[in-house]
Assembly symmetry: C2
Homo-oligomer: 299 residues x 2
């Protein structure tokens, strides 16, 4: 089994300076799986309600995403409502309706338990831990989280972190988690908590990848029209892990390319609302933007 | 004549989380000239009072900086007092004593008027314009400014901008100047105001270099101990212009390397208070850090 992604499938109501969208499809798992699908055929674990559109399920299938781990339950799909101001790096959560996500405790399909690459996207760390325990011999386990869990479930979060290889977080989260304002020091503290790699996403300022003996930085693609920043981080993780899954080596060169492909996918996601841009990218669009990053950063 | 730098020589009283220093030598011209001196032999235009230490003048001479344009006047040297919080990107000006800088209106030495590269560091735009008018046929004119002039002398500033080739500013200044929050759009607006190149310094997030048909980005060197951010921007400009002066070509490849050398010099400056680190760097230290940037950014 290829990369398995656990996270949310959701309806998002989003307000940005470019407009407002009611109940469009989003969720960490959705963004991540779509982004990863350009590199590998991931499987997903998540839950949707009766109201989740069948055509999105069809889209996932069309993109060769394995949906055996996707449950449809009576009730409504998880709903998030948020607003972005003029600085796309900051958002306010206006509403959070867990709906079918409440009491979600999946039993992984047998083949998922054999996966050697698992991504625990942003969900309750208790749930992350439970799912991790079901996977037999994963070679790479990656995770993401948000401030909410850092503030409210730190002990559980720290326990999961001890068992993962790659930790994704944005700069604000890493600072909150480690109580350290210098990002390099903060990243090193994360490395002392378990992960062998920490990927710090800095929004419009790009991303830093820190390992025990390596540091790599990539700038964000210069985007003049950020339409909707939602899902950028999950798309980054999807591109990163999808590429790592395809590369199969995991050496320093692969890690660096993975971070650039992560940036490529994030840069497309923010060009339109929701998952719109991730629905039908072409391979050449991905290749072209990878080249654009080369051009942006070479000297 | 090589690169001519016009700006302030100063006493700075600085408070950072790492400590407090009273009346140490600083100033945009001082930082810029010292940084540039590792690449070329710049001339400087500025003014100091009777209290300015002779050993710093000796240091400038030792670094092959031409001081024919440096005046010593009766009275006290320009004095700035500021404080940085835990975020090195933000500082508060606590005191500003112009002293001998008041009514400073230099007549450039004859050989300076022949220079083909002029840097108008952060000073009153009226003064920048006056000095610019004294230089006969400069090939490259660069300038820097601060929020104070953008707010209080915009028409004069805009007039100088029309005549320069390279505009240095930090992200905050570019946004204020163009009233545009998106940095890429803001940079493009600056390009429409005169300069053919805009260098946007983003502190710990690095720098962007925008030309009409080119964009280059460099991350900041990952520094775990920012002791004193003062002079980072001026050191960047010094490294950038010093390298451009040495390279003499000014093609895209030179511009990119110049931005990296700018980042190299800034990264050393912030490792200690004031000009301490810039006093006696070795060529191999500069080369090593350039290589470190290559390693940081290559994929």
């Amino acid at each position: 089994m290829s990369l398995v992604i656990v996270g949310s499938l959701a309806f998002d109501t989003i307000e940005t300076p470019k407009g407002r969208k009611e109940r469009i499809v989003g969720g960490s798992c959705t963004y991540c799986a779509l982004a990863a699908s350009y590199f590998t055929s991931p499987g997903i674990v998540g839950v949707v309600g009766e109201d989740f559109p069948e055509e999105v399920i069809e889209l996932l299938k069309k993109r060769k995403i394995d949906i055996q781990g996707l449950e449809r339950k009576p009730g409504k799909t998880f709903h998030w409502e948020g607003r972005y101001g003029h600085d796309p790096n900051f958002r306010t959560t206006l509403k959070l309706e867990m709906n079918v996500f409440d009491n979600f405790k999946p039993e992984l399909p047998a083949k998922y338990k054999e996966t050697d690459m698992l991504f625990l996207a942003n969900i309750d760390p208790d749930l992350q831990e439970d799912i991790l325990s079901q996977v037999k011999k994963p070679k790479i386990v990656a995770m993401d989280t948000i401030n909410f869990w850092i503030k409210n479930k730190r002990p559980q979060l720290v326990r999961v972190m001890e068992k993962v290889d790659v930790f994704f977080a944005n700069d604000e989260e890493v600072k909150l988690l480690t109580e350290e304002i210098n990002l390099i020091k903060a990243g090193k503290r994360v490395l002392n908590m378990g992960p062998s790699l920490v990927v710090i996403k800095k929004g419009e300022h790009g991303a830093l990848v820190l390992g025990k003996n390596n540091i790599f930085g990539v700038l964000a693609y210069p985007c003049e029209d950020v339409v909707d920043p939602t899902g950028a981080g999950d798309s980054f993780a999807g591109g990163f892990l999808g590429y790592m899954d395809r590369a199969r080596q995991g050496n320093q060169s692969d890690i660096r390319k993975a971070a650039v492909f992560g940036s490529v996918m994030a840069s497309y996601t923010i060009e339109d609302f929701g998952i719109e841009r991730l629905k039908s990218l072409s391979d050449s669009e991905i290749k072209d933007r990878f080249s654009a990053f080369k051009k942006l950063l070479s000297f």
